[in-house]
Symmetry: C3
Subunit: 212 residues, 3 copies
């Protein structure tokens, strides 16, 4: 079991890095599309990559923040921003949502899992635990869009996004209540969230709209 | 007196619920008007209902948050969002500001009172106490409008709104300084705030504008 | 040395007041340009003046907030808002960015220095210290622009702004590592930040843009 445990830990770290990278990239692409300058692009990249986790830590009152404990993540995102700007400039890369859909879905799933995990550790009630997963997964993108003066895509594009993290959070809780180890619950949450998001994009699921 | 005390407590809970309901509804209506999807509407409803109180607790460093202590409020707002979306869909309801003016004014008054109350309990200086009341009353609506990519109505519609909560906060402090019990101060704050807001809407009071 | 120390302390207080004043003015001017009402203008002034320092205290978990310890600053900003609105109204003053460039650059430098100072005192790693300086210097203006429904000028106007604070933060750390007293490090940070910003405006430096 110890082996599995460790494998789970390594997996978590890997996907966390992938998620942060994906969100940073989504911020850079959004900033570039809005014709921000180099500094603005870095800022949007940082907000997208660290917004969700920082709000999670703030709401759960957990200090120091995860990016204070792992400063190398700050350096990494700075590097990602610099490299992707160089790449954008030299390749006349046409940034589209499609390019970031896969890592974005993975990132959503992982950040949701980490939010649920931390809220559980802080002994929150079930609904708060799940909402904390949703907030952690979604807030980085919301912040990115607010700073770029857009209605957040999450709220507007009519494809399930936050609701995938909501389902994933309940799946985490369900598996956890059954007595499964933490890494299994995390994997379930990641699988359900990213899987639903993938299905939603593939089958072009639409959420209902209201006209008032 | 004990009877009065209890009556005050019950009143406070009732109006707090009414205020949360009113702000949740205002978020749902705003989201529907912006043609957000079902999830987006719920998010805006939650932000409007819980934004002010969460910022109050965050600024005053009070943990756990009120919606962690009273999870049933989260479930309630979820239910309100679902029901009002069903209603909007089936009744082709034309959402107008007028429909929410009364509960909105009550909500503003109550949240202002609760902000002042908590800031007083945390031993803040007078001006901070009053501003905390204003922030608690106003921030939910501000967040709702920012997420919907609008200049917050509070700042723009030229009818007194925040300033009513400002007056109500000073009224609370005044009554409190005179040695009146807490529920009397709260009622005064609620009455002054909601009353001024009602008068402002009824008499169409306008705040001065500046052209620069 | 004690004399110098005290001189540094007084200087810090003076520039801090100047910085807060400058940011409050920038908020009032922005609010007036957006045709907000009197209350909206005050709100934007407060957000610009206190946003950066409040986020700094929140992220570093420092309570009470600086505007709770120094309530007279709240009264001061209220007074500034009232006076500048009277002035705007009576003088038909055409608000331009140029009028606030000098105090704004000073404010950026000082708030950056104060952010770096507090983060150092809280034992943060180097990159976090510098970023905290940038956040403290920049966030007030970002909040001002978000509330006014604009992409923050910092991100968009292609003239170095946040990056000046970034350089200033590293300069602070460098001087500090060399064993210089705190006031010297603060002055260096202020000088580098405000100097670079001034140079950038004077020589019309442009940051590169990306088209995606």
């Amino acid at each position: 079991m110890n082996n599995f445990q460790q494998w789970g830990e390594t997996l978590r770290l890997l996907v966390e890095l992938a998620g942060t990278t994906a969100f940073a990239l989504s911020g850079v692409l959004e900033g570039a599309r809005k014709r921000l300058d180099a500094v603005g692009i870095c800022v949007v990249g940082f907000l997208a990559a660290f917004g969700g986790g920082t709000l999670r830590d703030l709401l759960l009152d957990q200090r120091p923040f995860f990016w204070v404990r792992h400063v190398e993540m700050l350096w990494g995102v700075l590097l990602i921003c610099a490299l992707s700007m160089l790449f954008l400039r030299s390749h006349h890369f046409e940034a589209t949502q499609k390019h970031i859909a896969v890592p974005d879905a993975l990132g959503l799933g992982l950040f949701a899992a980490s939010g649920v995990h931390q809220a559980l550790a802080a002994d929150m009630p079930a609904l708060v635990v799940v909402l904390m997963g949703v907030i952690t997964g979604v807030f980085g993108g919301v912040l990115r869009d607010i700073v770029c003066n857009e209605i957040p895509t999450t709220l507007r594009d009519h494809q399930p996004y936050a609701v995938c993290a909501f389902a994933g959070g309940w799946a985490y809780l369900g598996v956890w209540e059954l007595g499964a180890p933490g890494w299994a619950a995390m994997l379930t949450c990641l699988g359900v969230t990213a899987g639903l998001r993938g299905l939603a994009l593939w089958r072009k699921w639409q959420l209902p709209v209201w006209l008032a």
